[in-house]
């Protein structure tokens, strides 16, 4: 009876996600070992030519990607951008997460709602907002160029710089950092902090010795949640960027939609996913480990 | 007359023996309590009676009918859960009407029955409220009303008062006993609170590690604990090493704590063997304190108090209605004595380190066999 309930309830979703998440990823992995078709797509797995059966499976796609300098350059740049984004999100998000976790119930709900609203608004619109702010006609850009004038430097268009790309990625992903951090800080024992104050520690000391170490699991989860979408980003560099701010996502999109080289696109996408999954598994593992060691100390 | 018979029931869960060949009968109309520490198997046994788990072996009969493998909804008995388990999306009325709806009663009949019951538990005012709008005590009353609305043969109560504060809990004790007497429904009550068990039950079973240590009237269980566990778990008790040194016609002679010889009456002396070791258990309130040997100002029944020993008061704890003294005896054993403060100057008599004599009637305590 119990067994059937378990499967009746879970099988529809299980099968659905199997077909629309797992199967497509398996297909992508298979394509990464196939030959690119002459006019896009892939060559059939087998063909029969001059009385011989050819298997069109190859590792060349991987070899090609591993040996192409500019792909690695893109990957490194993407990792660099994503790390910077994560760090800035942490710096901007930590105080606010701390503030929310320390506020009373009513204020807390209002502040949480204020964090969630931008998080739920259409991603494109939020990117677009920065196109207005950083655009050549906007005050910020004019101010920057005024300063550059003073130092005798040429005018720049702020929108098409790494600065803008990272700034916008920080803006987009900030809630991913704040929410898990808040969830962690919220669970801290207030008595512990008050005991610290009672024993005469300064607020900075309390923060460095109690709050910060205890919040490490939250920092890790938040960082993973910011890092993942940053690594896959292609819209922001495309809308704001130039060739020198392109990220790996732009290359993948190009390989699939413009040069129509599915196998190479698949390999690049798989390498990126691999990096992301390894880093997030590691972050998650570390966070669980820290949580456990904290519990032991209790 | 037995309403429920549990026969040789065992349950193993994750390699742990939760219930070990339990057999017990519950009489029609009684208030029966299963008492034990957490993990003793009492809740498992209750869930088995309700039908949420099935025994690995053994059978359960309700009024002679085998219900061991019936689904919970097929059993004419109800459970009161520790968390009340009210349906959060239904009003008080809807909650109480639910069992009748499931039994396919007509709308009119449901209305009459539920309103009558609402009146009984004084909840008529609240019938359109949702559980989230009720206090703990009110939720409790809704849960009870909901379980009694279609007159079950048996009501199972799983630590129903543990979420209430002490004052409300005492009030609910009286309510529960009254309710049980009025409705005549058999109650099976699970608790880890010994005073609750003693106060409420007509009979009780003390469970430990999946076996029944003792099953009897609360007075017997308290005053004549059958096992070391029962003596230790229920209230405060002096449990002293003892050895049988003689067996007489209606009594046995014990050598207690390497200190004194006492003779206690037993029903069947011949079940014991000479030289058998065990414990002598006596409650602190059964022992008296005297400042001088043979001082009979302290007690009116001094004729029965045959055994007197001297020691010093090590410490005392004042509880208001009584004071608990810790006495260090000559053999370095410690003994607890509880005196009721029914005289005005009781405390003055026993300062720390003062020399005192203890006296007790041997038959106030009993012998516990070592298993």
């Amino acid at each position: 009876m119990k067994l059937s309930e378990k499967y009746v309830l879970s099988l529809p979703a299980l099968i659905y996600l199997g077909i629309f998440f797992v199967l497509p990823i398996i297909i992508m992995v298979s394509i990464s070992f196939m030959l690119s078709g002459d006019f896009g797509g892939v060559k059939p797995l087998f063909n029969y030519e001059s009385h011989q059966l050819h298997t069109n499976l190859t590792l060349n796609n991987y070899k090609y990607v591993f040996h192409t300098y500019f792909i690695w350059q893109l990957i490194l740049r993407t990792i660099f951008y994503s790390l910077l984004t994560t760090v800035f999100c942490l710096i901007l998000g930590y105080p606010i997460a701390l503030l929310i976790s320390r506020s009373g119930d009513k204020l807390k709900n209002i502040l949480l709602l204020l964090i969630i609203i931008p998080f739920w608004s259409c991603f494109l619109i939020r990117v677009y907002a920065w196109m207005i702010i950083l655009g050549p006609n906007d005050a910020i850009n004019k101010l920057v160029n005024l300063v550059r004038d003073y130092f005798g430097l040429a005018h720049i268009n702020l929108l098409y710089t790494s600065f803008s790309v990272i700034l916008c990625m920080v803006y987009i992903n900030l809630p991913f950092m704040i929410l898990p951090l808040y969830a962690n800080l919220e669970k801290h024992n207030i008595d512990l902090l008050e005991a610290g104050q009672d024993l005469g520690a300064s607020s900075l000391k309390i923060f460095l010795n109690i709050t910060l170490p205890l919040s490490l699991p939250g920092i890790l989860i938040g960082s993973v949640l910011v890092f993942i979408p940053s690594m896959g980003m292609f819209v922001i560099p495309e809308l704001f960027g130039s060739n020198c701010t392109y990220m790996i996502g732009n290359l993948i999109k190009q390989q699939f939609l413009q040069t129509m080289n599915w196998p190479l696109g698949s390999v690049t996408a798989i390498i990126m996913t691999f990096i992301v999954v390894i880093i997030s598994l590691f972050g998650n593992y570390l966070s669980e480990y820290l949580k456990e060691t904290e519990n032991v100390e209790d | 007359m037995n309403i429920l018979e549990i026969k040789n029931v065992s349950k193993i869960y994750n390699d742990n023996l939760i219930l070990d060949n339990i057999s017990l009968n519950i009489l029609k109309g009684e208030f029966f309590t299963l008492l034990g520490p957490s993990g003793c198997g009492k809740t498992t046994l209750l869930r088995m009676i309700a039908g949420f788990t099935t025994p690995d072996s053994g059978k359960i009969f309700l009024e002679g009918k085998d219900i061991t493998n019936l689904q919970p909804e097929e059993r004419p008995l109800h459970t009161i859960f520790q968390t009340y388990a009210l349906f959060p999306h239904m009003t008080v009325f809807g909650n109480i009407a639910f069992p009748l709806k499931m039994a396919k009663w007509s709308k009119e009949k449901i209305k009459i029955q539920v309103e009558e019951l609402l009146d009984d538990v004084k909840l008529t005012k609240y019938k359109n409220r949702f559980p989230s709008e009720l206090s703990g005590g009110q939720k409790q009353r809704v849960a009870i009303a909901r379980s009694l609305v279609n007159r079950p043969k048996l009501l199972l109560l799983d630590e129903p008062l543990s979420a209430l504060d002490a004052r409300l809990r005492e009030h609910m004790h009286m309510e529960l006993v009254k309710l049980q007497e009025e409705t005549g429904v058999t109650f099976v009550y699970v608790t880890h609170d010994q005073s609750e068990a003693l106060a409420l039950s007509s009979r009780m079973a003390v469970l430990n590690l999946g076996i029944i240590e003792q099953l009897d009237h609360p007075v017997i269980v308290y005053s004549k604990p059958k096992t070391y566990f029962v003596a230790d778990f229920l209230g405060k008790c002096n449990i002293l090493k003892a050895k049988i040194i003689d067996i007489l016609d209606n009594s046995i002679v014990l050598f207690v704590g390497n200190l004194i010889e006492i003779e206690i009456n037993v029903e069947e002396p011949n079940i014991y063997k000479k030289g058998q070791v065990g414990w002598y258990a006596i409650r602190p309130e059964k022992i008296k304190l005297r400042r001088i040997k043979n001082d009979d100002t302290m007690s009116t029944e001094s004729d029965n108090d045959k055994y007197i020993n001297s020691g010093t008061v090590v410490s005392y704890f004042y509880y208001g209605h009584s004071t608990l003294y810790e006495i260090l005896l000559k053999n370095n054993a410690k003994i607890q004595v509880m005196l009721f403060n029914n005289k005005s100057e009781d405390l003055k008599f026993f300062k720390d380190n003062s020399e005192v004599y203890i006296a007790f009637n041997p038959n106030s305590g009993n012998f516990i066999e070592e298993i």
Binding site: I116, M131, I132 | E73
Partner: protein, 257 residues
């Protein structure tokens, strides 16, 4: 107001972050009422850009598409997702617990592209149907996660009580479990609905040439450049999201923890 005193530094930094989060949004809304077509100079209040939107058939068409796609996908996802959430709360199902995290752990571009490959290889014409199928997939994940978090606070003895009081397993499920979980289920559904309306990346890859949703429409406009019409449509979407987020937070205040 405060559980424990927070230092001034924390408050000041928080204020800066809040400004950082909201200034761009406020700018869009303000500019949507600005008479001037180009630049940042405020040249007077107008509703003109909203008037233009109402008469833009392509935009209306895209908005209707988005609403239809979001409604269908969130409805189906609510059924699958809440059942799965209940099952996952009660039972350990190996592998499945990881499956629902795919849209969170795998970058969207990879999910979108792999779906594109899948649809092409099975000869499934890209269009409304493929977008709906893709949206159901990620919506199931989010509904399931919401229902699981809801179930974690749920008193399981409520279901036992229903069985005990005479309801069979099916009745207990539909008369007690589902209705008492309804606030969480609706919150999950609204979240799925909003995510579907707002989704750009997965839709971009699974829509094909002929199908336009609101975000795809906005994307094509943004590529051309900054215009007041985009400000106006963006403002409408922001207000809509605000209302949705408000309702979800009322229904399920703990869902983000």
């Amino acid at each position: 107001m405060w559980k424990i005193n927070t230092s001034k530094t924390v408050k000041i930094f928080s204020l800066i972050t809040f400004l950082f989060l909201y200034i761009p949004i406020i700018i869009i809304i303000l500019y949507s009422f600005n008479k001037s077509r180009i630049g940042i100079n405020w040249s007077g209040f107008t509703l003109n850009w909203y008037r233009i939107l109402i008469h833009d058939d392509n935009l209306i068409h895209a908005a209707i598409n988005s609403l239809v796609i979001a409604s269908i996908s969130s409805l189906i996802a609510v059924v699958f997702g809440s059942f799965a959430g209940i099952a996952l709360h009660k039972y350990k199902i190996p592998f499945f617990s990881y499956l629902i995290y795919i849209p969170i752990v795998v970058p969207e571009i990879v999910v979108g592209l792999s779906l594109l490959l899948f649809f092409i290889l099975i000869n499934f014409t890209l269009g409304y149907a493929s977008v709906v199928l893709a949206h159901i997939a990620f919506s199931i994940s989010f509904v399931t996660l919401t229902v699981i978090s809801r179930m974690d606070d749920y008193d399981d003895s409520v279901i036992s009580a229903a069985r005990d009081l005479g309801a069979g397993p099916v009745k207990a499920f539909f008369l007690i479990l589902i209705p008492s979980l309804l606030p969480g289920i609706i919150a999950g559904g609204l979240m799925a609905f909003t995510l579907s309306i707002d989704d750009f990346i997965i839709t971009f890859f699974s829509a094909g040439a002929g199908t336009t949703t609101l975000p795809l429409f906005i994307y094509s406009m943004i590529k051309v450049g900054v215009t007041p019409e985009i400000n106006a449509i963006s403002s409408i979407i922001i207000i809509f999201t605000l209302i949705m987020a408000y309702f979800v937070s009322k229904l399920s205040p703990t869902m983000f923890e």
